[in-house]
Structures are given as C-alpha cells and as structure tokens.
C-alpha cells in the first residue's frame, strides 16, 4: 500500500497500510518510542483504504480491512483515520489472537503483581488505568488483558490509551500535552483523544506479571465494595473475552485458573478520587 507503518505493542507486531498519509503520520508521531515487530515480521496486517479510488480524494472515507474483518463495518471520515487504525488493530486482536486468552480489560502492575479492571463500556477502565499510571502503577494496557494459558501470566499490551468524552479533560489536566494525540470529535464513541503510555509502560512492555486482583468498577454510584463469587466472575469474564470460544479447552483452563486463583471485587465509585481510594483499599486488602 502507499503508506506503511509497523509497530510492536508488547508481544504483538502490527503492519498498518493506508491509502492516505495522514493516519500514518499520526501513528508515527504517537508510537515514536515503540519498537518494531520482531524479525520485521508482524503478527497482523491492518489496511486503511478507500472503498472507491475517487473516495481517496472526494469526501474521503476510511474503510478498515486486514487479516480479520467484520463484514458490516462502517467507514470513518479521514479526520478520524487514527481511530480507524486503532480500531483495525483491536479488531485483529479480537478476531485473530490465538496465543493469549483476551479479556476486554485494563491492566496495571505494581511490585510485579497485576490488577485487572474489567467491566462494560463506560465503566471507566481506560480512565482509571491512565490515572493509576500517574500514581505509581505501571500501565500494561487499557483495552485487552493478555492471559497466557501456558503460564497463567498476564502480558502487557500498552497501546495508546483511548480516552473518551469527560475523561479526556480529567486525564489531560494531569499529563503534558506532548503525550496526547489530536482531539477526535464526533466519532461513533463520542469525543476521543489518545494518550501515549509513559516511559515505564514502554520500558516494561516485555515484562509479564502475575494476576493478583480483579476489579469490576462501575461509575456513577456511591462508594461501595463487594466480593464477587467465582461463578459470577467466570461468567462475566467469558462475556468480556473476545476469543474464549475460539480458544477452546486452553481458554477454559486459563480462565478457570485465573478465577480460582485471584480474588475479585466490584467497586462502585462516584468520582475519580473515590475510585482511586477504593482501588488502593481493595489492593491492600487482596
């Protein structure tokens, strides 16, 4: 393709090709400190392309393709090309990843132990992960937890943190502007701004960690914490996994190992300060 960018995020290499220069230039800037795929051979290919050749120029619309695709995916305007690239990379992971059991979750690490934050969209996973990374935790990822069935360890996947809507301002207030991407308005998920993970996250991207605690955060409630039964954790994590079924027995063994070995709590929080306090308390009590 005309414009190409390659990057490695934790154990996964990507090749992104584009009909346009702009999304590639943004990726180059934001992923500048990341390594390249091992041996120069990426795990997955993403393609950003125009549905018709004239749509490169006239009202350019970015179609998302790659090794693995959803048939009915709608195109994005070129101004959201960076988001298209990120969605394309996530899609390859969600549909094509077969080495790790994938959980839709944010992961942070401290003292070699990992905290998994999972929950429905809007629960605040990305926001909490970003804020915790500013308070002494190592960011391992804000989108996918990569659980290795062979070892039970979590591998880091510290892609750009995807901040949405109100959390953009919350996090932007605490980080230098050179770690923030362009503001993407009017996306299918509202306003999005990407945050480049910090130096500790990048330096540690090849260091896995043993899971120590699972939290299910919910935003918009009075502060509360409750234990979650293993049966409920199991069901919620199967729903949070994009490849649990495709992984078959390996996925089942990995997930039951995680659920039986790691405590889980639900935390309700009214605001970010409350959330941080609840997370720290739950971590201390694990």
């Amino acid at each position: 393709m005309r414009h190409v960018f390659q990057v490695r995020i934790g154990p996964v290499g990507f090749r992104i090709g584009s009909d346009w220069r702009a999304p590639i230039a943004q990726l180059e800037a934001l992923y500048a400190a990341y390594p390249k795929p091992v041996d120069g051979v990426p795990d997955f290919t993403v393609r950003l392309f125009a549905a018709r050749s004239w749509r490169r120029v006239v009202r350019p619309a970015v179609m998302i393709g790659g090794d693995y695709v959803l048939p009915e995916a709608a195109p994005l305007p070129l101004a959201q090309g960076l988001l298209a690239a990120e969605m394309g990379m996530n899609l390859q992971m969600a549909l094509g990843q077969r080495h790790f059991l994938l959980l839709h979750a944010a992961v942070v690490e401290r003292d070699g132990q990992a905290l998994i934050l999972t929950g429905v969209s809007g629960a605040g996973k990305s926001t909490l992960a970003a804020l915790l990374s500013l308070r002494g935790w190592r960011l391992m990822g804000d989108e996918f937890a990569l659980l290795d069935p062979a070892t039970g360890l979590l591998h880091a996947f510290p892609r750009l943190v995807s901040l949405k809507n109100a959390s953009v301002a919350t996090v932007a207030a605490e980080v230098p502007v050179d770690r923030l991407g362009p503001v993407l308005e009017g996306t299918p998920k509202g306003t999005i701004r990407h945050l480049v993970p910090d130096a500790a996250a990048l330096a540690g991207m090849d260091v896995p960690a043993r899971p120590a605690l699972i939290l299910f955060p919910s935003f918009g409630y009075e502060s509360a914490t409750r234990d979650v039964a293993q049966s409920e954790v199991f069901v919620r994590l199967t729903q949070a996994s994009t490849n649990y079924v495709a992984m078959g027995e390996r996925g089942f063994d990995a997930l039951t190992g995680l659920v039986q070995g790691v405590p889980a709590r639900a935390i309700d929080y009214p605001d970010t300060d409350g959330a941080i306090a609840l997370v720290e308390a739950a971590w201390a009590a694990r």
Binding site: R15, V41, P42
Partner: protein
C-alpha cells in the same frame, strides 16, 4: 524464490516448504497475509512444521496450528451433534468437504479451516431431516421469502440453518450442483458408494470427493477459495491416486471439470501440467492476491463472477433472478 508476491508465493511454499529459507521479512509478511486471505494459514503452518523459520514466524505458525486443531475439534463435535439428531431417521448422513477430511483423518484435513458443516442426504429424506434439525435447535438464517423459495426450488441444498446455541451453520445438500446447472451429477451414486466412517456418519468415496471438489470449483462458484480447494484435490490424489477417476467423472458428467482440477492442482502444487490457454486464465484468477492479502485483478475476478452465474442458470432465469435481487437492493 524470486516470485511476485501473489498467490504463487503460497502455492510454491506449499509445494516446496524448504524454499522458505530464501524468504526475507517482507516476503514472509506477504506469505502470511496471503495464506490468511485464502484461509490456508493452518495448512501452511502444518506444511512448515518442523522447519527452521524466523522466531516470529514460528510463533505465528504455532498459534495457527493450535487454532486449526481447535477448529477440528469443533467441526467434529458439530458433526456429532447432527449425527445424534439424524440417526433415528435411518438415512445416510454423508459429511462433505473439510469436516469429512478431518473425520476421515485425511491429509487434506490437516490444518484446514472449516466453516459450516456440510452434509449430503437422500433427496427423499430432505423434509424429515429439516424437521429433525429444526426440532433440535437449528433455525433459519434467511428470512427472505424469495431466497427461501429460490433455495427450495432450484438449489442443491436447503437454505442454511444455524444452531441457536452453538452459532454454527449447517448446509444440508441433496446433490452437489444446483438443479439449474447444466450438469446433473449422479446423486444416487454419491450416496450408494459412500464410506461409513463411524456408525451413522459417512464420507464420499475418494473419487467422489474429487468430483465434488471439481464441480464446486468449475461448475458452480466464482473460484473464491479456489487455492484451498485445489490443495484438497492435490492431497486427495496424493493419498488415493486416480484409479477409476476418469470413469467416475464421466458418470457424473464432470469429465471436463475433473480434468481441469487435476491440471490446475498439478500446476500449483505438484509437478506441473500441460496447460490450455483457459487453464492459464483460471490460474490468473486463482492467484489474484497481493502481499497485503488484497484481492487483485478485478477484471478477471468480475469475469469469473459473471461466469459463475452464467453456469448456474439459463439466461432468462438469470435475468429474472438478477432483476429480483437488484430491486431488493
């Protein structure tokens, strides 16, 4: 290998895995993308198993083998689910394509991606089979009355059914080509000469597997998935030879198609063959991929797409069909 980065790269690698020592990062990347696009990454992974490849590639191929193995387990389980429902009917349930290959432990099944469960049953038993599947949790996929009526009147299979719990599709065939096609294979002979794999589950005889692959490729579809189908052909011939194949193909009216399948499989994966000009056009279509896994050669593709409809139905019917589909958008 000094080849262009198209489907030939995949074909040459499957033919001669040792040639991969010459591949650089760009060619490896292209090879993996093309193999995925052709749904042959599992096949490639098995073919290269045990060879020294770059560590990143070894890692990707190991995952592909594990994934294909899980696909095999799931496909066999789906066949077993159908067997349990259909055994009481007392009819032959003949597995087709990928599921048959893995159930019979054939080389063609090694690493093969398997989507739907395809089975062949006697046409007289179609209503009973459909009723039993509906009773056991399979549901209609196509609610459109035109599509449904079209399938029932003209196709070689029921409209596809999907299982509501397992989300897996089943295609119930009563022959191997649409009734509108100009060729009418001997469906009775397919069933009569099937081989029992285990109580209640059958597979076509090897020669009929080849006839089916050829019919599907050259008398029905637009060659999508053709590289994989010809790999099946290549493996079946390597395993069973071609004794009696010409006579069987003639019996089904598929001599031309089977002959072409043998030549093209030999050209891609074997020792080569004397090709006709038309064969070369087929190969041009079959290998139309670039190093990004993209479909290339749009005019050739379109020509074969139009041809596939032309083969499937007489001109007046084709016009009516396309008109109806077009109006529905």
């Amino acid at each position: 290998m000094g080849r262009a980065l198209d489907g030939w790269l995949l074909a040459q690698t499957l033919r001669d895995p040792g040639g991969t020592v010459a591949l650089g990062a760009e060619a490896w990347t292209a090879l993996l993308a093309i193999a995925r696009a052709e749904q042959m990454i599992g096949t490639l992974a098995w073919r290269l198993n045990g060879l020294t490849v770059p560590p990143s590639v070894a890692h990707i191929l190991a995952d592909a083998r594990a994934s294909a193995e899980q696909g095999r387990v799931a496909a066999l389980w789906e066949a077993e689910a159908a067997r349990r429902v259909l055994v009481p009917l007392g009819v032959r349930v003949v597995l087709l394509k990928g599921t048959a290959f893995v159930a019979a432990g054939l080389h063609a099944g090694q690493g093969r991606s398997i989507g739907d469960l395809d089975i062949l049953v006697p046409r007289a038993a179609l209503d009973a089979v459909e009723a039993a599947l509906l009773e056991a949790g399979w549901e209609w996929v196509k609610p459109d009355p035109y599509d449904d009526a079209y399938y029932r009147q003209w196709m070689h299979e029921l409209p596809p059914l999907i299982h509501r719990d397992r989300d897996r599709m089943i295609d119930v065939h009563h022959t191997i080509l649409p009734l509108t096609a100009r060729i009418t294979p001997d469906a009775g002979a397919l069933l009569a000469d099937a081989v029992e794999l285990k109580p209640g589950l059958w597979a076509l005889s090897p020669n009929d597997m080849l006839a089916h692959a050829a019919a599907h490729l050259f008398a029905d579809g637009d060659l999508a998935g053709g590289m994989r189908n010809l790999w099946d052909v290549h493996c079946l011939i390597a395993e069973f030879g071609t004794d009696g194949l010409a006579g069987r193909a003639a019996q089904h009216g598929l001599s031309r198609e089977v002959g072409r399948a043998l030549r093209l499989a030999a050209a891609l994966y074997g020792e080569g063959a004397r090709l006709t000009p038309a064969d070369r056009l087929y190969l041009r279509r079959l290998t139309a991929r670039d190093g990004w896994g993209r479909a290339t050669r749009p005019f050739t593709r379109m020509a074969f797409y139009i041809r596939s409809h032309w083969l499937r139905m007489p001109p007046a019917m084709l016009a009516r069909h396309l008109w109806t589909k077009w109006r529905k958008g």
